[in-house]
Structures are given as structure tokens and as C-alpha cells.
């Protein structure tokens, strides 16, 4: 059974059919790419997968459980985490706290314990600090732990967003244009990091990308979206040589 199984997913905004008859099947451990021109509906697919939009049609199964139309927070607890095309960090909090918020559901103590500073407060906070630093160090961000998230340079903000998503301990990680706005060096670093977290965290990854080099370099499978519909799907090499794809996307 696949980790993610999506059948006939579709959504309409008024008269606009943004995504139609979208199917995808992702196996555990895969690194999967979702590509397509601007406005093709890629981000909309992510928004449906994470419950930010309710799909008009279709079903989404994660590990065999139906998560269609569930609340975003529930879907995260079920094992889906994501990043955003236009970064959404908790800008007024430190880098460390951003990751600790990702750890919120794995390390618990109550509101009263926090207010009265009971021993459990100190124990749990210490464990959270350690875990958060461990995750940050994978990205080399541990030295920025007490910097405000909004003060990080752009490329590091993207990495912090991935770190925060990983902190929720997901089975499936959705990355929306992780290399957007990065220079070639940063992009290369990012590719390495993505390959590394996949190994280290044992997480399945679906990523949206514009950068062809990044996609062909690391994704095993691709789905190409055009005008909300699947244009081509399969092994990376096959898809990249599909004449339809070359005509619609790569050619221009």
C-alpha cells in the first residue's frame, strides 16, 4: 500500500476549475517531484493535501486512512507537514522557538505547569531545547538558535521552515518551491540537505519545483501538472523526455 494515495482530486473556485482529476500515488521513502508552469495548480494541490482547502471532489488517503476534508491540525497529527511558497515563519520568535513550536505535540505539559513553573516545566523545556538543537544542527542553523526568525537571511528562513516541519515528526513532507529565490550555491546546498533529511529522518518527500536541475538531480518520480490536469507522470527520465512535457513546459 502507498503512503499517499490520491484519487480524482478536484477543486473549483467559483467558475475556475483549478485542479481536476488529480491522481498520485507515493510509496514510502520516495522523493517525488510535482512540476508545472505557474498557475498550474501545484500549490492548490498542497493546500488540499493539508486541509487548508476542502476539495470539491476526490479522496486523499494517508497510510490507508482517509484524511479528505479533515482539519489542517489533524492532518499534521496524522503525519503530513509542509512548507510554503511564500515563507510562513513565526517571525517574532527565535529560531529555536520556531522549531520548539513544531515539537508542541511531541513534548507536553499543561498551561498551569507553565504558569507555576513546576519541575515538569523545566524538564520538558530542556528536552525540547535539546531536540530542537539536534534538528537545527542538521541544517547548520544551531548557531542562530536565539536569532529572531525574521532576521535570518532568506535562504536560511527556507531551511528553518523545513526544520520546523520536520519537528512535527511527519511521515510525508511537502515542500513548496524550496529553492525559490536561492542562488545556485544555495540551491546546491539545499539539494544535499534534502537528500540528507530523507535519510536521517526517514521521511517521504513530495516537492514542488521550478528549478529543473534540482528536480532531475534528486527526484525519482515526477508528476507534471498543466492547467490543473496531470500532463505526464512516472519515472523522472521518462517524464522529462515526454514530448508533451517538452512542448508544454520545458520547451518555452
Amino acid at each position: 500500500m502507498s503512503l499517499l494515495e490520491v484519487t480524482n482530486l478536484g477543486i473549483s473556485f467559483g467558475g475556475l476549475r483549478a485542479v481536476d482529476e488529480f491522481n498520485i500515488s507515493i510509496e514510502e521513502g520516495e522523493l517525488y517531484g510535482l512540476i508545472g508552469p505557474n498557475g498550474a495548480g501545484k500549490t492548490t494541490v498542497f493546500n488540499m493535501l493539508t486541509g487548508i482547502y476542502k476539495p470539491t471532489d476526490g479522496k486523499i488517503f494517508l497510510d490507508g486512512t482517509d484524511i479528505t476534508g479533515k482539519k489542517t491540525a489533524e492532518i499534521n497529527k496524522a503525519g503530513v507537514a509542509r512548507t510554503f511558497q511564500n515563507i510562513r515563519l513565526f517571525g517574532d520568535q527565535s529560531v529555536l522557538d520556531n522549531v520548539k513550536i513544531g515539537l508542541h505535540n511531541s513534548f507536553k505539559y499543561g498551561t498551569a505547569t507553565g504558569i507555576f513553573r513546576l519541575p515538569k516545566f523545566f524538564n520538558t523545556e530542556k528536552k525540547m531545547d535539546e531536540k530542537a538543537l539536534e534538528i537545527l544542527s542538521v541544517f547548520g542553523l544551531d548557531k542562530f538558535a536565539d536569532v529572531l526568525a525574521s532576521n535570518l537571511p532568506y535562504g536560511k528562513q527556507r531551511q528553518l521552515e523545513i526544520a520546523r516541519a520536520l519537528a512535527t515528526n511527519p511521515k510525508l513532507l511537502l515542500l513548496d518551491e524550496p529553492a525559490a529565490g536561492m542562488n545556485p550555491n544555495e540551491t546546491k546546498d539545499l539539494m544535499n540537505t534534502i537528500a540528507l533529511i530523507r535519510k536521517e529522518f526517514g521521511v517521504t518527500i513530495l516537492l514542488i519545483e521550478h528549478d529543473m536541475k534540482l528536480v532531475s538531480g534528486i527526484c525519482e518520480k515526477l508528476t507534471v501538472l498543466n492547467f490543473g490536469r496531470v500532463l505526464s507522470q512516472g519515472q523522472t527520465s521518462t517524464v522529462l523526455n515526454d514530448p508533451e512535457v517538452i512542448k508544454a513546459y520545458l520547451g518555452e
Binding site: L89, I115, K126, T168
Partner: protein
């Protein structure tokens, strides 16, 4: 390497502890100054009468700052929560005046007043916090007004048969001759024991500052701030939005309730007018929060203290009083918000000086 990092992080959390200690120091200094002025007889009786109200409104401002600064929601009804705390605790204190000794009665009144203010906050927040934008401001504004108006026509009396309510007049209570009227319509509650001393008020203010500080620097507080910073991102990392908004708003209303309890036990005649608990007051409290700095609890206290005491201190200047008052308002606003001054404070302010000293060491 890791140990080093952790040690550094503890310094990070020390930063917020330093801020807390500074806030408490500010309160203690203000307390000492006022007590000395009082002992040397340099306080007018009007000024003396303002000491407890200053603490009461500071508490409400701290509560509102939790709501505005950390939850990121605008409430225009915090005077309403203060009002709930005031009337419920005063009702209790008056009703049990003869039956429970002073100290435990005041403590119970405090608990009850705080609890009910929090409960009202909770009940209002359930429907409203699910909405976005200005709805909370509008509904809390309406709530404050409704509470005030209901209390103005509310009659409650106690006699041998139990408690009687009416929204018409005293006669409609139908009381036995031995009964007493406790809430008397627009005249409110008279004869509440005057138990709020300046010392108790300052102690409660310090407790509130510690509670809010610990709250915003805990797991729950982080979640609340995350929701404020970016609600969609907060949902995608699995935070239950409504739950944390409810917790923060309830706590904020409860703290306003503590202010109400203090206020009610400082005057012998408690009435609900526009200036004590109406939208006028709610807006004034918002002014304290904004001028003192959103998210900055000690700022709220300083702003409330200055702006409540100032008109009194300037009384000698007669006609120029309000002119100077407005100049101080503008000066405060500039001091807290003007970009060039913010920059100057960053470089030359108290924190910068402390930091430099440490670097030298």
C-alpha cells in the same frame, strides 16, 4: 560543543527573566516612592485615593496587553470584565459581611471575582474567536456596554427565604422586612468593606506580572504567539487554534477581573457608569496598552500610572492641565513608537548599557 550551546540558551531565557525582574523593580520603586510621599504627608488626599485605582487599572491593562500583544486580538470590552469582577466580588463581600471573617472573605471574593470575569471572557470568546478580523472588537465593545446597562437596572436582595432578583425596581423584589437589598439598580452596591490597601494592590499586580510572564514564556504561550504570528502555519504544525485562543483570552479577562475586585473593595459605593466601566474606560485602557508598548507589560503599568496620576498632579496649573496632559500623551507615543527614537534607545538605552558592561567584563 552541545553543552556550550545549551548554556548559551539558558542565557537566552535569562533575557526574559531579566525583563521580569526589571518590571517588578519598577513596581517596587513606584510603590516605595508613593509610600514615602504618603508618610511625609506630601500626597493630597485625592492622590492617595488614586493609589489603588492605579493598580486596578494597571492590572486591567496587563490583562488587555496579553490579549492585544500576544493573542493579537483587539478587545474593546476589558472594562466589562473588570466590571464583572467588581460587582460579583462586592456582592459576595457585602452578602457575607457578618458571617465570614474579613481575611478569608476577601480571599474568597478575589477568587470568585477573578473566576467569573474569566468565565465571561471564556463564554464570549467561544463564538467570537472562531471569527476573524474586527468581530472580537465589536462584540467585546457591545459586551461591556450590555454588562454596564444590565447592572444599572439590576436589583438583588437577600432575606430569610433566599436571593431575589429583579430588573424593574426594588419593590418588585418582594422582600421580607428583615431582608437587605444588596444591588440597588443605578445606585449599585453600597457598603462594600474597604479592604483593598495599596500594599495588597501592589502585591496582586506583581503576581499578575509574574503569571503573564510565565504564561507567555511557556509551551502554551509559544503556541499563542505562533497563532498570532501566522495562523495558517500554526495549523500546519498541528496547533489547536481555538483552544489556545480561548485559554489566552480567558486568562486576559480573569486578570481584568482581579483589577475589578481591587477597585470594588476600595470604594464604599460601587456604580457602573461610562467612566468607570463603560467603553470610555475600555478605550482608556487600550490607550495605556498602546502607549506603554504592545506586548510590554511594564510599559502598560507605567503608562497607566502616569496617565491616571498626571491630571491630579497638574491640578495647580488649572487651565493648562489638559494641554500638558496631551503633550505628555504625544511625548509618550513618540518615545515608544518613533523609529529614530527606537533606534537611539537600542543603542543608548538601559539594555544597551547593561549589555556593554557585560561585554567589558
Amino acid at each position: 560543543m552541545k553543552m556550550e550551546k545549551l548554556k548559551k540558551l539558558t542565557t537566552g531565557s535569562n533575557k526574559s527573566t531579566t525583563k521580569l525582574i526589571a518590571t517588578i523593580a519598577v513596581i517596587v520603586i513606584l510603590y516605595a516612592v508613593m509610600t514615602i510621599l504618603d508618610a511625609t504627608g506630601s500626597l493630597t488626599s485625592l492622590m492617595k485615593g488614586l493609589l489603588v485605582p492605579v493598580c486596578a487599572y494597571s492590572l486591567v491593562a496587563v490583562g488587555l496587553n496579553l490579549c492585544v500583544g500576544y493573542l493579537g486580538e483587539l478587545s474593546l470590552g476589558h472594562a466589562g470584565f473588570m466590571c464583572v469582577g467588581a460587582f460579583i466580588s462586592a456582592f459576595f463581600s457585602k452578602a457575607f459581611r457578618g458571617t465570614i471573617p474579613d481575611v478569608p472573605r476577601f480571599i474568597i471574593a478575589l477568587v470568585i471575582g477573578t473566576f467569573f470575569a474569566g468565565l465571561f471572557g471564556f463564554l464570549i470568546a467561544i463564538p467570537v474567536l472562531r471569527l476573524r478580523g474586527d468581530y472580537l472588537a465589536i462584540v467585546t465593545l457591545a459586551f461591556g456596554e450590555i454588562i454596564k446597562n444590565v447592572i444599572n437596572v439590576l436589583y438583588v436582595g437577600i432575606d430569610g427565604k433566599g436571593v431575589h432578583f429583579s430588573l424593574k425596581d426594588m419593590m418588585a423584589l418582594g422582600m421580607e422586612p428583615d431582608g437587605t437589598v444588596i444591588v440597588n439598580g443605578a445606585q449599585g452596591i453600597t457598603g462594600t468593606p474597604r479592604q483593598s490597601t495599596f500594599t495588597i494592590a501592589v502585591l496582586l499586580l506583581i503576581v499578575a506580572v509574574i503569571v503573564t510572564h510565565n504564561f507567555v514564556n511557556s509551551r502554551t504561550g509559544r503556541a499563542v504567539k505562533a497563532i498570532r504570528d501566522n495562523q495558517i502555519a500554526a495549523e500546519t504544525v498541528g496547533l489547536p487554534i481555538t483552544k489556545y485562543k480561548l485559554i489566552a483570552f480567558t486568562l486576559s479577562a480573569a486578570i481584568a477581573g482581579v483589577g475589578g475586585v481591587l477597585y470594588a473593595h476600595n470604594i464604599s459605593s460601587l456604580t457602573a457608569t461610562t467612566n468607570t466601566f463603560g467603553y470610555n474606560m475600555s478605550i482608556m485602557i487600550l490607550v495605556y496598552v498602546v502607549l506603554g508598548g504592545i506586548g510590554n507589560f511594564s510599559g502598560s503599568i507605567i503608562a497607566a500610572t502616569l496617565l491616571i496620576l498626571l491630571p491630579e498632579m497638574l491640578r495647580g496649573l488649572a487651565n493648562y492641565r489638559m494641554l500638558i496632559y496631551s503633550i505628555v500623551l504625544i511625548a509618550l507615543m513618540l518615545f515608544n513608537w518613533a523609529p529614530s527614537i527606537l533606534k537611539w534607545r537600542e543603542e543608548h538605552g538601559l539594555k544597551a548599557i547593561i549589555k556593554k558592561k557585560k561585554e567589558v567584563q
